[in-house]
């Protein structure tokens, strides 16, 4: 899923300064699971902002609403009758949701309430870690199911590099060397032949290098 982290409240306070009626808009999907922008986080942020305004003698209306998803037209339509009551929206969805809402409500200022961090997994309670960079042509079949694109600091495709020491990456002793993980898993799978094969040049035009990407599916179009 998409992993996000809460923005510092000071930053949000700064962003909402010019506006007096603000809607805090949550999203029920990824950001709920990673506890950055769901209904609960909407409540907490809205309450904190109201306490701030009351204690500073600032008059603002802070509203709350959470949508099933902010990256789908049908759900974003839900707030069409509500938006006129506000001067700005602080969206706690990932960057996709913020932008989709901004596209839909052209004259409404949309402010991000979270930092969108990565595509990752819920590794432990309160710990989310990156697993994929959406490179557009997945190589996991050759790499023992461990992604060198997102988990190797240099995105090396025939690793490890010379900086790999005792299974750790040279960027930090707390970061596993992705290639060490790949080799360990290929050994466990008895597939070290995959490791010996030289990786073909990767088509990076499918990655961000090729500009914004789209997926079109004629079969599901209406």
């Amino acid at each position: 899923m998409i992993i996000a982290s809460k923005k510092p409240i000071e930053e949000i306070i700064q962003e909402i300064t010019p506006y007096s009626r603000i809607l805090i808009l949550g999203c029920n999907e990824c950001v709920t699971v990673c506890e950055a922008g769901g209904k609960k986080e909407v409540e907490v942020l809205a309450s904190a902002l109201r306490i701030f305004c009351l204690s500073q003698g600032i008059e603002k209306t802070i509203g709350e609403h959470t949508l099933e998803r902010q990256c789908d037209h049908e759900y974003l339509e839900e707030i069409r009758n509500m938006v006129d009551d506000y001067d700005a929206i602080v969206s706690l969805a990932c960057g996709v949701g913020v932008q989709f809402a901004a596209e839909k409500y052209l004259t409404m200022p949309l402010l991000p309430g979270v930092n969108t961090v990565c595509l990752g997994a819920n590794e432990d309670r309160g710990l989310w870690t990156e697993r994929c960079q959406a490179c557009g042509s997945c190589v996991l079949a050759r790499t023992g199911g461990i992604c060198p694109v997102s988990r190797c600091a240099k995105r090396v495709l025939n690793g490890p590099c010379g900086g790999s020491t005792n299974g750790k990456c040279e960027i930090s002793k707390d970061t596993d060397c992705a290639w060490q993980l790949i080799i360990d898993r290929l050994k466990a799978l008895d597939k070290m032949d995959d490791y010996e094969a030289v990786a073909p040049v990767k088509d990076w035009s499918k990655d961000r290098a090729g500009g914004p990407r789209t997926v079109t599916r004629e079969d599901v179009k209406i």
């Binding site: 510092p8 904190a48 306490i51 701030f52 500073q56």
Partner: protein
Amino acid sequence: MQDTSTKEAFEPRIIGFCCKFCAYAAADLAGSMRISYPASVKIIQVPCTGRIDMIHILKSLEDGADGVMIAGCLEGECHFLQGNFKARSRVEAVRRILAQIGMEPDRVAMFNLSSAMGPKFAEITAQMTDRIRQLGPSPVATAGKKSRDAA
């Protein structure tokens, strides 16, 4: 800046979330022992401090409480094993939020005691009341009062 005379006159309104198994029972015991504790603390019984969410603490402050105290079992003695540790980390999270929005984090505090500690209950409520008295009325409560007066 408030003068001390107002601070002394000021009777804080403190919400005390008390775990049923320890602090609430200790408050009861204090009563049976005829030990008085400050009337400033309004007790809300919870099944475990682990039930308390950040939003309960924030809402108390938003609605005008001058302080919020959370009283749970001694560490390692929670009936639900981890409840009081969870409460402590939520209290810390709320205190961080308060610091970010320019409110005194000390308006929110966590205490640990057992059901046998009646006198200790009186002590911590007095301690909390003193602390809040030092900090003065919550600006939220004052703003609320002003808007009520205006209306």
